[in-house]
Symmetry: D2
Subunit: 384 residues, 4 copies
C-alpha cells in the first residue's frame, strides 16, 4: 500500500485568532515519474472535486504508480466557509470582489526586480543542458520566483490575502509536471479547459466537451501553471533550440456547484485516471468510462446569452443538451407591462437561439435582472 502523508499550511488567521488551513495529502511511489498536483474547491461552491480527490486517494493508496501525487481538497477555506443564506458565496473574495481563480501570477511577465529571474539568461545558460536537466532546474527557479515575489508583496507588512492565497498554491505546484484544477460550473455539464498545445492529451479525459483556449494568461491556475513552460519553449526557440514542452495543466469542470455525488465521483475519478495513464503515471487499465466522443469549441465560440429584460426565466434546455438556431431556449415571466386583459399576453416572452449550440451551463437562479447571465453555450462544435 502506498503511503499517504499530510502537510499542513496555515493560510489565514481570522480576526478572532482562529486559523484556516490548507492541507496537502501526498502519495509518493518512490519511482521516477511525473509529479502530479490536483487541487479542488478554489471557488467556494464548487464541491465535487473534493469527492473526486477522495476517490483518487483511495485508488492511489492501492495501485502501483510512478512519480508522486499531491492532493489539495478544500483548497480555499476562505471561500468554502462563506455563506449567505443557505448558499455558498463562491466565486470571489467577499472583501475585495476578486475572483479566486483570476489572481494567479504570470511569473514570466514579472520584471526581474519582482521575480528575481531572467528567462533570457536562464535559457542562455542552459542552451546545452539536457531536456531533463532543464526541466529540473526550471522547476527550482519557479519555486524561487514564488519566494522572491512573496518578499516583494510583503515589502510594507504582510502580503494581501488574494496574492498570498494564489501564490501559495502556485508554490506548492511549482515542482509539478501536471496540474489539474477541479472546478464546477453553476448548473453545468462536465467539460474541460485545455490549452491548444495539449489537445491531443485532452482527449484522454473522455470528458464530453472541451474548450480549446489559446496559450495565453488570463489569471487562472491552469494558465499560471503552463504559461512559464510555454514561454520557456518560446525563448528556447528564439535562441535557436527546439525544447519540447511536456508540462500540462487543465481546468476540469465537474458538473454543477453546491452538490456532491459519490457515485459520479467514481466515474469522474476514472476520467482523470485514464488521462494520467496516458501521461505515464500508471499502467492500470481503467474500466468504466463515459461512452463519449468528445466535442470541442474554440474559446471565441464560447458565448453567453444575457437577459435582455428582468424577470423569471425557465431554462428550456439542460446543460449538455443541443439546440438549434431558432429554438426557444428560455421563457420569461414579468408582469410589468400588464395593465389589462389585452396586455396580459405581454407577461411571457421567449429567448430565441441565434446559432446552433450546446448548453454548457445556465444561471443557478430563475430570477434574473437585465444584463445577467442566462446561458453559456458552445457553438461551432467539432468532434476531435
Amino acid at each position: 500500500m502506498n503511503k499517504l502523508e499530510r502537510i499542513n499550511h496555515p493560510l489565514k488567521q481570522l480576526p478572532n485568532g482562529d486559523w484556516l488551513w490548507v492541507n496537502i495529502f501526498r502519495l509518493s511511489s518512490g519511482l521516477t515519474g511525473p509529479n502530479v498536483h490536483i487541487q479542488a474547491n478554489v471557488h467556494g461552491a464548487e464541491l465535487q472535486g473534493n469527492v473526486v480527490i477522495y476517490e483518487l486517494i483511495n485508488w492511489f493508496k492501492a495501485n502501483p504508480f510512478k512519480g508522486s501525487i499531491s492532493f489539495i481538497p478544500f483548497a480555499n477555506p476562505s471561500a468554502v466557509n462563506q455563506k449567505t443564506g443557505m448558499y455558498t458565496q463562491g466565486r470571489y473574495n467577499p472583501v475585495t470582489g476578486n475572483n479566486w481563480n483570476r489572481n494567479y501570477i504570470d511569473f514570466m511577465s514579472l520584471d526581474e526586480k519582482k521575480s528575481g529571474f531572467s528567462l533570457k539568461n536562464f535559457v542562455k545558460e542552459n542552451l546545452e543542458s539536457s531536456e531533463e536537466d532543464v526541466r529540473k532546474k526550471f522547476k527550482l527557479e519557479l519555486f524561487n520566483i514564488c519566494d522572491h515575489y512573496q518578499n516583494y508583496l510583503e515589502q510594507r507588512s504582510a502580503a494581501p490575502e488574494d496574492g498570498h492565497f494564489n501564490l501559495l498554491l502556485q508554490k506548492i505546484a511549482s515542482p509539478s509536471d501536471i496540474v489539474l484544477d477541479l472546478h464546477t460550473g453553476p448548473i453545468a455539464t462536465r467539460y474541460l479547459y485545455s490549452a491548444d498545445y495539449q489537445m491531443e492529451s485532452a482527449v484522454h479525459f473522455k470528458i464530453p466537451y472541451v474548450l480549446e483556449i489559446p496559450s495565453e494568461f488570463d489569471g487562472a491556475m491552469d494558465e499560471a501553471s503552463f504559461m512559464p513552460w510555454v514561454e520557456l519553449s518560446r525563448e528556447f526557440k528564439k535562441q535557436g533550440r527546439d525544447f519540447l514542452n511536456k508540462f500540462e495543466a487543465y481546468t476540469v469542470e465537474l458538473g454543477s456547484e453546491e452538490r456532491i455525488s459519490f457515485n459520479e465521483a467514481k466515474l469522474d475519478a476514472n476520467c482523470l485516471l485514464n488521462y494520467l495513464k496516458h501521461k505515464g503515471v500508471h499502467d492500470v487499465e481503467i474500466g468504466e468510462l463515459p461512452i463519449t466522443s468528445s466535442k470541442k469549441s474554440l474559446l471565441k465560440d464560447y458565448k453567453t446569452y444575457y437577459a435582455a429584460k428582468g424577470g423569471l426565466y425557465e431554462f428550456c434546455f439542460a446543460p449538455g443538451e443541443v439546440f438549434k438556431k431558432g429554438d426557444v431556449i428560455a421563457k420569461s415571466l414579468n408582469f410589468k407591462t400588464v395593465i389589462d386583459n389585452e396586455s396580459f399576453s405581454n407577461a411571457v416572452s421567449e429567448v430565441i437561439a441565434k446559432e446552433d449550440g450546446v448548453v454548457i451551463n445556465h444561471n443557478t437562479s430563475a430570477s434574473i435582472a437585465s444584463g445577467q447571465t442566462l446561458y453559456q453555450v458552445m457553438e461551432n462544435l467539432q468532434t476531435f
Copy 2:
C-alpha cells in the same frame, strides 16, 4: 371575458430615489361570492407561485366564477431583487435579518391603543347580528386596524420597512375570505401548511403532504390572516354564541426555490382551482390533478436533522421520498481527521435516520457547517 385591472402601491423608495412597487391584479365577477387573496414570492427566492398566478389569471379571465380575486405576484420586490453571487438572498431582510414571513401582526393581541379596536366590545355589539353581517363588519374593522396600527408605527417619522411591508399585505388582504400565500421550500417537495380547523378543506388541494398547525400565531401570513377570525369565534363562544369561522388561509409550498416551471405551474394552478371550487368560487370541473392520497403530520412531528459536523453532504433521499429508521440518509466528507493511511476511512461518515419519515426538504448546498440544516422531515404520517 372577466375584466383584469391593476392597482399599484409604491412600496419602498431606494436611496437613489427609484421606487419598488407592489402591483395587484384584480378580477371581479360582479357576483356575490368569496373574496380571494393570492400572493407569491414574499421570500425572494421562492418563485414558482408567480407562474402559478400567471396560469390562474389566464383561467379566471376565461372562466365564470363568483366573488372577486386579487393576485399579488412578486409581492416582495425588496427580496426578489437582492442577489449575492448568482443566488437570491431570500428569506430575510438583509439589513435587519428579519424573516419576511415572520413579521406580520397579530391584530387581536394588540392593545387597544395600538389597534383602536376591542374584540370584546365588537362581539358584545354584534351578539344579535347575522353571521353575514358580522363578517362584513369584521372585515371593515380589520381594515381600520391596519390604518390605526400604521399611525402608531409612524409616531416618530415613518414606519419601519418590515412592519410597513407586512402590514401593507395584511391591509390588502383584510376584505378576504380566503388567503393563499404561495411559497416554496429550499430543495423541496410540494406541501401545505393548514390550521387544524381547516383540515377538511385542505384535502381538496390534492397536495401530497399537509402539515397540520395549531390555530396559533407565529408571525406568518396564513396565521396573521386566520387568527383574527379564530379569536372572533372564541370570543363569541365566550359570550355565549356559536359563530362559524368560515375564513381560511394556507401557506402553499410549491417545490424548490430559485426555479420555475410553466408546465408544473399548470398542475399547481389546478390544485388551487380544485380547492377554490370546493370553497364555492367556481363550478368548473378541474381535469388534470395529482394522483395522490394526501398524508398529514402534526407540526410537532415536523423534525429537522442538523449536521453534527462540518463537511460536504450527499443527500441520499430526495424531497418526497420515504425513508425508514436506520436508513443512511446522508453521507458526508471531511478530511480533517485524516493524517495517514489508517485514518483515511475517517473521511466519510453517515447520517442515520432516527425514525421513519418522509423528506420534505433539504439544504440547497452540500457544504454545511456543524449545526446547519440537513433535512426537514415529516414523521408519524397519517393518511387523511
Copy 3:
C-alpha cells in the same frame, strides 16, 4: 499575582473541517465571593468589549479580589469573521437571519419535558433552605437544564447552530452571580440596559444613559440570565416566602461598532470595576471615571426615527447630543422629483424632531431606503 487560565470550547466545525473556538479566560481569587461572567462581541461588529476585557484581565491579574471571574472575548467567532466588503456583517446569522442576541432560551418558560425542571417543585423543596443554599442549588439546576435542553435539541441529530451557540454561553454563565454582556451600538454613545429591579446598582457603572427595561424575556443574554432568578423570587413569593434576588445582568453598550480604542477601554474598564466594587468583587478605589450624572429612560421611551423617503441623510446630531422638539435632526438629498429649475429645491428635505430627546445611535450609513432606521433616541429622560 492572580492566576489566569484558559478553557477552550470547540464551537463550530466549518464545512472544510476547520474549527471555530470559544476561549474562556478565567481568574479565581480562592476567596468566597461572586462569580462574574463577562462576554464580548456576540454581535460580529461590536468590538470594543474585547479591548475592555483585555484591560480588565490586566487589572484582575494584579489586584486582590473575591470570588472568580470568567471572560469570553470574541464570544461569537461565526459573527466576527463574516465580512461583506470591508464591513463585518454583525447582527444576525447569515444563514438563518437570526439575531445572535435574540436566541437565548427562557429556561423557566420551557415545559418540564424540555428542561427536566419544575420551578414550583424546586421552591417547594427549598422553602426552608437558607438563601445561600437556594442560590447554590439553583445554579446547579440551571447548569442541568442546559444539558437537558441540549439533549432535547439534539433529538434528531445535532442541535441547530443558533441554539447551540446561545445555549453554550448560557451554560458557561450558569454558575454566575453577575453577567455582563458587552455590546456596542451602530454609531452610538455609551449606554446601559438595566432591568428595573437593578437600577440602584446600575448607577455605579457611571455610564451616562440607562435604558430601564422591564423584568421580561425578549431573547437577549441579560434577560436570559436574570429571568430565572426573577421567576425564582416570584415563585417563592407565591409560596409565601420573600427571597431576595441578588443576581444581576446587564447589556453594556460601549459606543460605536467596527472600531476599538485602547484609551477609551481603560475608562470603560474603570466603569465596570466601579460597579464590581459596589457588588463586593473587590475593595480597590477606582480613580478615573466619567464625570457624569446618569440619565435614564423607560424602554417605552426608546424611540426610532425611520426614513420617510429614500435618500442620503446627514445626521445633524451626534450620539450623546440632546435635541429639542422642532429641531432639524437630519437633512436628506434625493433628486427623484427634480426635473427643472423650479423643482430643484425639492432635492433637499428636513427631518424634524417630534419630541425632546437625546441621540443614542444613528445609522452607520448615510444611504437609506424608506423605512430604514435613522436614529434611535431616548425621550422623557430622568436623572437618577
Copy 4:
C-alpha cells in the same frame, strides 16, 4: 438663470420588473466652451459626490459660464441600493464580483471588428485638419465606437450588466472635454488621481494630496476617458504632427464613504469650481478654498500595509496625518496565543512604519483577518 434639464436612461430592469434609472442633469450656457461631465457614486458607498453635485448645480444655475455641463448623481443605482446589514456593499457587482470602476473599455485597444474604428486611419485622414476640427470629429467617433461596441456585446442577446453600465457612462461622456469622477475612499482623506500629463492643471483643485498616475489604462473611468485622447496624440506624433491633448479626466476622492456633509460639500464644490475656472468654464472668483499646498506621490509610492495577523486593530494615525519611519501606526489585539499569565502580553502587538508617509485611508473596520488591508499610504511626497 441657466436652465436645468433632466434626461432619463433606464439602466436595469430588476427581476420583478421594476426599473433602476440613470438621471442626467444638464445645464447649457449657449456659449462656446468646454463640455464638462461630472458623475458621482459609481461605487455604492461613496456618497459625498452627490452632495457636491447638488452644490454645483446650485452654483451653475445662478452663475454665468461657457460650454455645457452634465451631472450624473447616483450614477450607479445597482450599487447604492445594495445593503448587507446597515452597510452599503459598495465596490463590486454582488453577482460577478467585478469592481464597478474597473470595467470601463479601452476603446483604442479594441480591434476594429469590435470598435468599428481605426485610429491610424483617423489620424491619416485628419493630418491636415484643424485641432478644433479633429477634436469635434474624434468626439463623434468615440460616440460611434460606443454604439458599435454595444452591438458587439449584444451579439447573442443582451449585453452583460457590467459592460452595459460602464459603456453607458462612457457614451454619455463621449462629447466631453473634461470628466470628473467623484469617489471617496473607505475612511479617507481628500485626494486626487491625476495622469502625469495633467499635473499642471491638477494643482488648481487645491486638494491636499495628488497621486500621479501614468497615462495607462487600468479599467477606471478617468483612464477610459483620457486614454483615447492620449493615444490620439501619440498617433499624430507617430504620423509626424504635434497634436495638443487638452482633454482632462480626474478621479476626485472626497473623504470617507457611507457619510455625507452639506457643509463640506460647499468647500468640495469650490475646489472643483476653482479647477473649472482654470479650464475656462467660468470667470467667477472662488472665495473659500482649503489653505493648502498640495503634495504629490507617484503611483509606485502608493503603498498598502496589510495585516500580518488576524485581530482587532486600532489605527494610531488618521487619514491625512503624517507618520515617520519607526512610528507605531497600529496596535492589534488577539488572544489566540494567550494561555496563562506569562503569555498574556502576547495579546497586543504593534505595526511599525517601514518608511515616512502620510495616511491616505484605512480599513473601515477594526476587525481584520491576515492579509486584509490596514492602511494605504503615500510615500516620497513632493510639494508641487
